[in-house]
């Protein structure tokens, strides 16, 4: 059996793995959209989508079909090439992160498409490139609201990326590694949420800002900017931004699970079985998704100057202080666990 697998060329294995992961992730996206609409509806005392199949289960399919048949408009003032390219930048970057996220692990190693040693750096790098999708979309649309949206996006991403990275470095110091699977196995005894509670809170806040979700969705800000960077987009291209946004949401949920909630380490019960680990991973990531939706229904959007104020004057100092404290504790407390 194992010799048969060894005979299969690596590229084929990677291809099959990628296909499976993308299939699962896109399905997750579709249903996280429904999940969001349902939970938001319930929190707003509405029943939510329920006309398409039981509990509206066919809603994602109906939405996708609608998107596909919509007219794909390009404004006269737009820069056609960049305008058409931008959604793909967003989507490819959002999908790219799933190449290295380990979903569970067995004794043979983590279950992921690629096991990169500098995994967390790769994730942040790809995430940062994803900002280009939004910035270029707004710039290339050739109208004022998208431009304002993309300017906000750029400023917001840069501001919050700093605090986000700072909050994560504490975990890297504790684990002594940038490999995601090593970080997870370092949380075998204690999840990093316990020693890094400050980092965790900062990560959660900045992750919301990074994914342009409410209450930090100034990039889209319907009430002020119509639709922000995607005002001019319609049909499938708009759909791509939509997919990218939700995939980013899933990505940051996965990262939060891996870095702070012990990845596939169980809270109780047996460990070691990769399928039980996978279930734990999904439960934890789903909790974060739920939290994001909960956040969206609860909090109103921040004002732009206060967003900047909060990012630079509150989150960054606290994150830096937390990082220094962690570094000192590890240096004098006997190195990484």
């Amino acid at each position: 059996m194992s010799s048969a697998i060894a005979a299969v060329p690596l590229w084929l294995i990677v291809l099959v793995k990628s296909a499976i992961v993308l299939l699962v992730v896109i399905t997750t996206f579709a249903y996280s959209m429904l999940f969001e609409r349902k939970i938001m509806a319930w929190m707003q005392l509405r029943p939510g989508p329920n006309r398409t199949g039981p509990w509206g289960m066919m809603q994602p399919a109906a939405d996708a079909a609608k998107m596909m048949f919509k007219e794909d408009l390009t404004p006269d003032t737009a820069d056609p090439l960049i305008y058409r390219l931008a959604p793909f930048i967003s989507l490819i970057c959002a999908m790219g992160t799933f190449a290295i996220i380990p979903f569970t692990g067995s004794s043979d190693g983590p279950w992921s498409v690629g096991n990169v040693d500098a995994g967390i750096l790769f994730l942040f790098a790809i995430g940062s490139i994803g900002v280009y999708g939004i910035s270029l979309a707004g710039w290339a649309s050739g109208s004022k609201f998208p431009l304002l949206g993309s300017v906000r996006a750029t400023a917001q991403m840069i501001s919050y990326e700093l605090s986000m990275t700072m909050s994560v470095i504490g975990v890297l110091i504790l684990a002594g590694s940038t490999s995601l699977s090593t970080i997870v196995s370092a949380q075998h005894r204690m999840w990093f949420i316990v020693p890094q509670i400050v980092g965790f809170v900062i990560y959660i806040i900045t992750a919301v800002a990074e994914t342009n979700r409410a209450p930090f969705d100034l990039v889209e800000a319907e009430t002020e900017l119509v639709g922000g960077f995607h005002t001019e987009y319609s049909g499938l291209r708009f759909g791509l931004f939509f997919i990218a946004e939700y995939l980013n949401m899933i990505t940051v949920s996965c990262i939060a699970t891996l870095l702070f909630l012990g990845g596939w380490n169980p809270l109780f019960g047996p460990s070691g079985n990769p399928f039980i680990g996978l279930a734990w991973f999904i439960v934890k990531a789903a909790f974060f998704l739920f939290f994001y939706i909960w956040l969206r229904t609860t909090l109103p959007r921040l004002r732009y100057d206060r967003l900047m104020d909060f990012g630079w004057k509150v989150l960054l100092p606290v994150a830096t202080f937390n990082l220094i404290l962690t570094a000192v504790a590890v240096a004098f407390g006997g190195g990484p666990q």
């Binding site: 319930w42 029943p47 909960w294």
Partner: protein, 204 residues
């Protein structure tokens, strides 16, 4: 600067933050007040004013005697009645006259029920039926074929005799095909021709 300090104070009001989260979480489990309309119909008030109905006597004769009092009482000018004489061979109502044409423009109607009050024979009543939606304007002009209770459906009931809630025959009369040619639209109805003549008069 004071503005800055104020918002900092609110920013760190973590208690309020958790209160907000708690509130939305409570709502998550609450019973939803939505009535899922096409499948579940709301109980209406006992004397809800809906679509009109022309009633009959127990022997099958029309109650309407074509007196046009409803038309006169109507504040929205929605009712058109053209009376006709009963003959011994062609008897529609017990009196001398009956409604030869009876049209109600449901788009003009304000469902006030004054026609009901004006009627000396309790012929026109407002039923609780309210599902009248259509794509064509002409379809909202209800003529006698749709207003009159079909003979097999009984005689119709006065508002005082109606039980609460949704009657089981909701919309059964409205489903009948209209003799007014709704395809040609509003102009085909009696009211339409009157309005056309009036417009001509104004133009001339």
């Amino acid at each position: 600067m004071s503005d800055d300090r104020d918002h900092r104070k609110n920013l760190f009001n973590v208690g309020a933050l958790f209160m907000g989260f708690f509130t939305t979480f409570q709502y998550f489990f609450q019973k939803k007040p939505t009535i899922e309309y096409p499948t579940i119909k709301k109980q209406h008030a006992p004397r809800f004013h809906g679509l009109h109905e022309l009633r009959r006597y127990a022997d099958g004769k029309e109650r309407c005697i074509g007196c046009e009092l409803c038309s006169i009482a109507c504040p929205a000018n929605a009712i058109t009645v053209i009376g006709a004489e009963n003959t011994p061979t062609d008897r529609h109502s017990p009196g001398e006259r009956y409604a030869g044409r009876y049209e109600i423009d449901e788009l003009r109607c304000i469902f006030c029920g004054l026609c009901e009050e004006a009627c000396p024979t309790d012929a026109i009543v407002l039923t609780p039926r309210f599902e009248m939606a259509d794509y064509r304007r002409g379809a909202f002009v209800y003529a006698k074929d749709r207003l009159l209770v079909p003979p097999e459906a009984g005689v119709g009931s006065a508002p005082d005799e109606r039980p609460n809630g949704i009657p089981s025959d909701l919309g059964s009369v409205a489903e009948e095909k209209s003799t007014v040619d709704i395809a040609t639209g509003y102009n085909a109805t009696h009211r339409g021709t009157i309005l056309k003549d009036q417009r001509k008069g104004l133009a001339g």
